[in-house]
């Protein structure tokens, strides 16, 4: 058994054919983690007891001749802002350094039922705020493909764990690119589902009108399999909904390639700009060529408000952050060592000392854009621009106007940068989200798929219509099958 070659599907087949046991698989992954993670820094906490007890349950079922599900036995890494009952959940923040979750997130409940094995909790930018992974209060996750470079954020550990075979797949969360960016930098697949497709109950909230949980995997098929397990309406997240037409059907996992080949891809001219590096442009052009060889129809489209996405995003996100993070006072969810003479001073001291620089910056910025004198000029303005960005996509996708089905773009202007290169310049870091944040503002699904993996990885992004994950997953499968 070589864990490099394993996928969710192969593990499940191997267990059913008794090639190996779930405990053996689990052990192999922990051995690889112990060998490599000291350098990479993908995990914050390993959940070994939980993993081995989950593996034992699967092995017992197999020994008893019972049917195990199609997902059973998948060893997963879970981003540290997603709660697993009884396990630490720090969101890579000192303010939650001692917090142990007292319930399971809905996605965790679903995966437990499906027979997943949880290897551990992964590193991230503190409270998911960052594009590089360097904002973790504990350590920066290194890119497994070049350890001098960032892994990308904010789901840094989840992407690095999958890229370095320290998990077969992982869960991340994506508010403005936090699944797609690290997948892009580490050379793995990352899917940001439609807003509302996956319940966020048990996800430590960053910006609630944008946050989505999604899968990171080695290939598109595994991403589809994992997505299918976690999607669906949940009474505990009232923004979660079932797709418009019925349930997500079999097409998520078994696409009809004849149908997929008839989909039309749009290339938005605003995404092919002068800031694009030569190697990224080259890699994206190669992908376009490959699709053209498969007789996929392309056309140029325009999303004129693209350049306003980042400023709108960085007004809306801090506004929501300032409200969502008000609950962290260093008293609840924490062992408080900072008792001051009165409650107010305790809050000031705890939040001042235990939040990192980027978190403090966003809370203060959010407080500013929501303050009465500036609300209309910043927050209300950003929300209006958000609508224009969504309408850009609506027009391009409009079937009555001969619209496209899928949009293809780069994920970031350049491949992974050096650790420390942008750490002291927040605005430069924000600009990394230029191609990913419009998708969240419009609530659309998008996937990052490796386009080039021979040197520093470069990904391409496919953006779909609301609840049409099947289109971008199918198109991604078509690409992978014809490599």
């Amino acid at each position: 058994m070589n864990i490099k070659d394993l996928t969710i599907k192969k593990i499940n087949e191997g267990l059913k054919n008794k090639k190996f046991s779930a405990s053996e698989i689990t052990k192999a992954f922990f051995e690889n983690i112990k060998k490599n993670d000291e350098i990479i820094g993908a995990y914050l906490n390993l959940t070994e007891n939980l993993a081995y007890s989950q593996a034992d349950q699967i092995d017992i079922m197999i020994a008893e001749g019972k049917d195990i599900g199609a997902f059973s036995g998948a060893p997963l890494a879970i981003k540290d802002n997603i709660l697993i009952n009884g396990e630490m959940a720090t969101a890579a923040s000192k303010i939650l350094e001692n917090y142990k979750a007292s319930y399971d997130a809905t996605v965790i409940q679903k995966l437990k039922k499906a027979g997943a094995i949880f290897l551990g909790k992964t590193n991230m930018d503190e409270f998911a705020m960052g594009a590089s992974g360097e904002n973790s209060a504990f350590k920066a996750t290194k890119n497994p493909r070049d350890i001098a470079r960032v892994s990308g954020g904010s789901s840094s550990g989840s992407a690095a764990a999958v890229a370095a075979d320290m998990a077969v797949a992982a869960l991340g969360s994506d508010t403005g690119g936090s699944i797609r960016m690290p997948a892009n930098f580490c050379g793995v697949v990352g899917l940001k589902p439609t807003y509302g497709a996956v319940s966020r109950f048990g996800l430590i909230a960053m910006a609630s009108s944008l946050d989505q949980i999604g899968p990171i995997a080695k290939n598109v098929e595994d991403a589809a399999i994992l997505f299918k397990e976690i999607c669906g309406k949940d009474n505990f997240d009232l923004t979660s909904i079932n797709p418009l037409i019925g349930e997500y059907g079999d097409e998520i996992i078994n696409p009809d390639f004849n149908k997929i080949k008839k989909l039309k891809i749009g290339l938005p001219k605003e995404y092919f700009i002068s800031g694009l590096s030569k190697e990224t442009e080259g890699a994206i052009n190669d992908v376009i060529e490959k699709f053209k060889n498969l007789k996929i129809e392309f056309c140029e489209v325009s999303l004129p408000h693209t350049k306003y996405a980042v400023p709108a995003y960085y007004i809306i996100v801090p506004a929501e952050v300032s409200a969502n993070l008000a609950r962290f006072d260093g008293i609840r969810y924490a062992q408080n060592n900072n008792q001051q003479s009165n409650l107010l001073h305790t809050y000031l001291k705890n939040r001042g000392e235990k939040f990192g620089d980027e978190v403090k910056r966003r809370i203060i910025l959010g407080t500013f854009v929501l303050s009465s004198g500036y609300y209309d000029a910043y927050y209300a303005k950003a929300q209006k621009v958000r609508r224009l960005i969504k309408e850009d996509f609506d027009k391009v996708f409009d079937p009555s106007a001969d619209g496209v089905d899928v949009i293809l773009t780069p994920v970031s202007p350049k491949p992974a940068f050096k650790i420390g290169e942008k750490a002291s310049d927040p605005l430069q870091m924000y600009l990394e989200d230029i191609f990913t944040s419009p998708v969240n503002l419009a609530g659309l699904p998008a996937i990052s798929i490796p386009a080039k993996t021979d040197s520093l990885p470069i990904g391409f992004q496919l953006i779909g219509k609301h609840f049409r994950e099947a289109d971008i997953l199918g198109m991604g499968r078509l690409y992978e099958n014809n490599l």
Partner: protein, 100 residues
Amino acid sequence: MREIINKKNLEKLAHLSRIEIDKGKEEKLLKDLGEIINYFEELKGVDTSKTEPMNGGVLFSNAIRYDESETKCESQNADLISAFSDKKDNYLKVPGVFGE
């Protein structure tokens, strides 16, 4: 660059945010915030006179459920209480609101 945030109103914002700012980091924070807010000026070029604000979400339907306690088990409460840094009986104990 127009100065919107200065030292004085940064202190006010930080206090409203319940964050004590490290004096040694104040200069850098002011500079970063200034640059970021200046970057927001780009939005002024967009005509939004006929646009309604968008709050997020994709589809809106009324989502309701019975207002019932959803505590799954007693141990869930016990876990939360055991995480308190200081307590009296089963209540979280904090410093007084009107202390020195």
